[in-house]
Amino acid sequence: MSEKKIRIMVAKPGLDGHDRGARVLARCFRDAGFEVIYTGCHQTPEQIASAAIQEDVDVVGLSCLSGAHRYLFPAVAKLLKEQGADDITVVGGGIIPEQDFQLLYDAGLKAIFVPGATLDSIVEWVKTNIKPRD
């Protein structure tokens, strides 16, 4: 019998090893009924884009707490686009100053979650904005 599920990848690009937040989110997405692919720390944008395509996810959630989001997040979005996979939604989270938001939106990110964002609000955003694909 058919049942469509949201597939979401949680990934940590770059040298930042602080993965507590990413793991909590992965767990929280699981509890929301999503299928979560977690790829661990220290991933290059190339690895993340390639894994997202192999796994056919609806969303890639990037977490970065090191300050390198200005480079890393747009790099993932760009690689997906180059490989014809810009239908995969990219969102980001971490310690991201407000003045960087526009740069990230311009690069193709659809949402940014900063400290203080509740787990419920993040899940709600995904449920509202992402439909499992046909």
Binding site: S2, E3, I37, E55
Partner: protein, 323 residues
């Protein structure tokens, strides 16, 4: 649809992964595509890897991928992790151990959730193997969920089954029980630098010594390999070389003794069984759900007004018209 078939034949990852997804979601048009892919299969050597949670299956697969790539073979990996029975969600984390191959175009890793299947695999695994086969992968590695004693579905889908064990999991009684230990073509004692490794080896030897010779297909007695600490790369890589060689040997053994056919036959039986369930049982259930009849029956049943056997017979009478 032919466009899709062509793309998969050319190895297109996006199309393949999307098709696997549609199969997982149970979409009818995906099955229609499979009709065209099925005749094109039969190229890949399918290797199943099973063992308890934390035995090191994903890490071994990562090492095997490297070893097969060195020999110039292309590799597909299907990694299964459990679905939560409560929320329907899943964490698919096998990939973490294999991410160093993410950028290698000769390697395609796809994670699947069990979605209620109990045999250690996901329902779509059989078809996903076919898809990787049509993509031209020389090797398809299938990782089961962390298994206990009973999840033996993997034998229905593989040419070679590897059972991964670690020291310290139990005494010799475990080794004579039926189930998972019976399905191995190759045993691997992983983390063999830990205490209890030679005891485990002795127990497995004793178990194999007592097995009837007829249980070894054409004389293939499952070898017991060991694999040392993955954090000491030299020993680990060497163990993996031996393992991949033994896997090749087993495949050659199957070919030489004309045993590949029996494995394919076994898979065919299971596939037909699944397909019948999908085409016969599920539409009937769906109808009963849609017109509310199923709920009524459950109501009646819980009030003890009837019994499940009578109800099932009534349904069968209605839908199985022949005879």
């Amino acid at each position: 649809m032919m466009e899709k078939v062509k793309k998969i034949k050319s190895g297109d990852v996006r199309t393949a992964s999307r098709l696997i997804r549609h199969l997982e979601d149970g979409m009818a048009e995906a099955r229609a595509t499979m009709k065209h892919l099925f005749p094109l299969t039969g190229h890949s050597h399918v290797i199943g890897i099973t063992g308890s949670p934390g035995a090191g299956k994903s890490t071994l697969i990562d090492g095997l991928v490297e070893s097969f790539r060195k020999k110039g073979k292309t590799v597909g990996v299907l990694a299964v992790d459990p679905t939560s029975p409560f929320t329907g969600g899943a964490i698919l984390g096998d990939r973490i151990r294999m991410q160093r191959h993410a950028e290698d175009p000769g390697v395609f890793v796809r994670s699947l959730a069990t979605r209620g299947s109990l045999g250690g695999l996901a329902k779509a695994v059989g078809d996903a193997i076919h898809i990787m086969d049509v993509m031209g992968k020389d090797i398809v590695l299938v990782e089961t969920v962390g298994t206990g004693q009973q999840e033996v579905d993997i034998i229905n889908h593989s040419h070679t089954v590897i059972v991964v064990l670690i020291p310290g999991m139990g005494d010799e009684i475990q080794a004579i029980k039926a189930g998972i230990l019976e399905i191995a073509d190759i045993f691997v004692i992983n983390k063999s630098d830990r205490e209890g490794s030679s005891k485990l080896r002795r127990e497995l030897m004793a178990m194999l010594d007592m097995a009837p010779l007829s249980s070894f297909p054409a004389g293939w007695r499952p070898p017991i390999l060991k694999c040392d600490n993955a954090f000491e790369p030299d020993g680990f890589v060497k163990s993996l070389e031996i393992m991949s060689q033994t896997i090749d040997d087993h495949y050659q053994h199957l070919i030489k003794h004309d045993l590949l056919g029996t494995r394919v036959h076994r898979k065919s039986a299971v596939e037909l069984n699944e397909a019948i369930k999908c085409s016969v049982l599920e539409p009937v259930l769906a109808k009963l759900v849609a017109n509310g009849e199923l709920e009524c029956m459950i109501e009646k049943l819980s009030k003890k007004e009837t019994d499940p056997y009578t109800l099932a017979e009534e349904i069968a009478k209605r839908y199985l018209k022949a005879k």
